[in-house]
Amino acid sequence: AQTVTQSQPEMSVQEAETVTLSCTYDTSENNYYLFWYKQPPSRQMILVIRQEAYKQQNATENRFSVNFQKAAKSFSLKISDSQLGDTAMYFCAFMNSGYALNFGKGTSLLVTP
């Protein structure tokens, strides 16, 4: 079974600063996909970024980027120039060549003025 671990229950960052959220996973698969989802207080789960394991290049989406370390089974999310609207729960999720997303327990990020 695959497991996803997010070791930081809560984090805080000041507006315009950079923050990194950690995620590790455990799998015996070689081909898989990793995701970061954001869930603001409105509860809507929003895709932030996606990474294919076969790609060595780290994915980026505007202010969001990942540091994917396949050997270490690590998948951290970096948010640059943090904005108040980034305040949310952030979930790391894993999917192998199937259909089910396996989520971590989440990291609550608070962006302060």
Partner: protein, 116 residues
């Protein structure tokens, strides 16, 4: 284009009752997945349906069932409700859900179920 829609937004039931939750996928998406999110936890996979067939099932009891209609919308049914079924139920749709692909899942706003 509209995103994934779910109804109702909120629902209150008592123990032993039955509930039906509804989901409409993004236009063109053929696969629908259901997740249960208990307060303070990440979502847990319940089902995925593709082309009206169950493609996968998580570790949930038989009280949970689902189906998908020809227009790709889906219903999740939960019988004999327990207090522990209180949760946010999320529906996600993806383009085709082929087991060899890993289409990104896009989530709806969820249905908050409270069991008293």
């Amino acid at each position: 284009d509209a995103g994934v829609t779910q109804s109702p937004t909120h629902l209150i039931k008592t123990r032993g009752q039955q509930v039906t939750l509804r989901c409409s996928p993004i236009s063109g998406h053929k696969s629908v997945s259901w997740y249960q999110q208990v307060l303070g936890q990440g979502p847990q996979f319940i089902f995925q349906y593709y082309e009206k067939e169950e493609r996968g099932r998580g570790n949930f009891p038989d009280r949970f069932s689902a189906r998908q209609f020809p227009n790709y919308s889906s219903e999740l049914n939960v019988n004999a409700l327990l207090l522990g079924d209180s949760a946010l139920y999320l529906c996600a749709s993806s383009l085709d859900g082929d087991s060899r692909s890993t289409d990104t899942q896009y989530f709806g706003p969820g249905t908050r179920l409270t069991v008293l």
